[in-house]
């Protein structure tokens, strides 16, 4: 199966890692059922294309395809209000705050971010791609990706602070 989806581009197996593809869908949608639907639809389509010998000759096409399906699926959902979110510098205690989080909570937080920040955060925290690969998948520029990640960190830190207030910060 993995061999099948590696395709003619001969992308290293790590880059077409199917469990990571599911996690990506989950982070993009924040909903296990929807994530499974998109994941299955992406793989079914890939299997059909493989049977026809029409696998794309480009790297990361599975993730690219899944990303567009996720964005399409949430197009008609309730969109987050464009309010200015609080931001805080990354704290030294952030690690312990994050450890208290549930993966579902993190996924919901990321999935509510507007795109392309959502895609950038989901791809970056999968720890599957380097920055050039993320730029390739999202069609962003380095400065844009950098800004989106930095902003995401600061917003996540502010959310963590509100959720798990640190005694010395109160």
């Amino acid at each position: 199966m993995r061999e099948l989806f590696r395709g003619p581009s001969r992308v290293p197996e790590r880059k077409q890692n199917l469990p990571q593809l599911y996690r990506f869908c989950f982070l993009m949608l924040g909903d296990s059922r929807k994530a499974q639907e998109i994941f299955h639809a992406t793989l079914r389509e890939a299997a059909v294309r493989a049977a026809r010998g029409e696998l794309p000759d480009e790297p990361f096409w599975l993730f690219r395809d899944a990303r567009w399906r996720c964005l399409e699926a949430t197009k008609n959902d309730l969109q987050p209000e464009s309010v200015k979110m609080d931001e805080c510098d990354v704290a030294r205690e952030a690690e312990s705050q994050i450890e208290r989080l549930d993966p579902m909570q993190l996924a919901i937080w990321i999935s509510t971010a507007p795109d392309p920040q959502r895609s950038a955060l989901a791809l970056f925290y999968l720890d599957e791609f380097d920055y050039r690969e993320i730029l390739d998948i999202t069609d962003l520029k380095l400065s844009e990706l950098s800004r989106l990640l930095a902003k995401g960190r600061r917003q996540l830190q502010a959310w963590l602070d509100s959720k798990f207030p640190q005694p010395n910060k109160v």
Binding site: M1, P19, R23, D130
Partner: protein, 258 residues
Amino acid sequence: MKLLSSMRRQRSLLNCAPISARQLADHPMRSAMSRADNSIEFVDQQNFDRAVARLVRLIPIPAESAEWFSEKDLVPTTKRTWRDTLRNPAVLAISIAVAVIAGVFVFNFISHLNDFPGSATARKLLGIAASTRPVMLDPVNAEAGKLSDLFFMKHGLEHYDVPDEFADLDTIGCRVFEDDESRRIAQIWVSEKRMQFFLFPAERDSKTGSVLRFPGWRHVHQEGWTGAVTEHNGVCFMAAVRGGDKELAPYLSQPAGK
């Protein structure tokens, strides 16, 4: 201005710094990271990113989705047959190369199967026999067996005796020369079958200096010539004739001393 832009790019790279060593960093990223290695801000950022990535890895995979990770293919792939494997150009090329190497090895093995001490010299002398003309030898009119005295008296060559099997044959000419290893070789041309005889020192053990003996007659072949070689008293005798073994067989089979 340039410095500002460089610092901005470095800041951008640091914001995208890889979370784990699994992600290979390119040169600009490595250099930006090495500059920021001791910065508290960057260390905090890396710890933050690692904690989030650890949390992401905890996302469970539902059983229905995990079925897709099995090794089985959705599309049946055609199994490669032996015939396909053999038709593969790489396999074909390697097979031919191995066959050629094996052929050369077998040829060398067979050609050295009948080697004996002095066989290399004997083959060289067959080459000389092929290129020798009668005018190159001193005319002699005597039986071959009687030339031992000539070799001893004139050239100081001891035990350069023609074996009894060939001793009665009439000689046309003879000479003594040195080969490329300064060994003194006696060459005799006889009238019968335009045969040539060679007498040369037998090979010796490089450590002990003792003669490497071998029993009876041994055959060597070179450029259409055949030689029958025997060793006696530290001197090898070779009867060389154009043709195969059968040209020499009548002489070798007859009782010595005829």
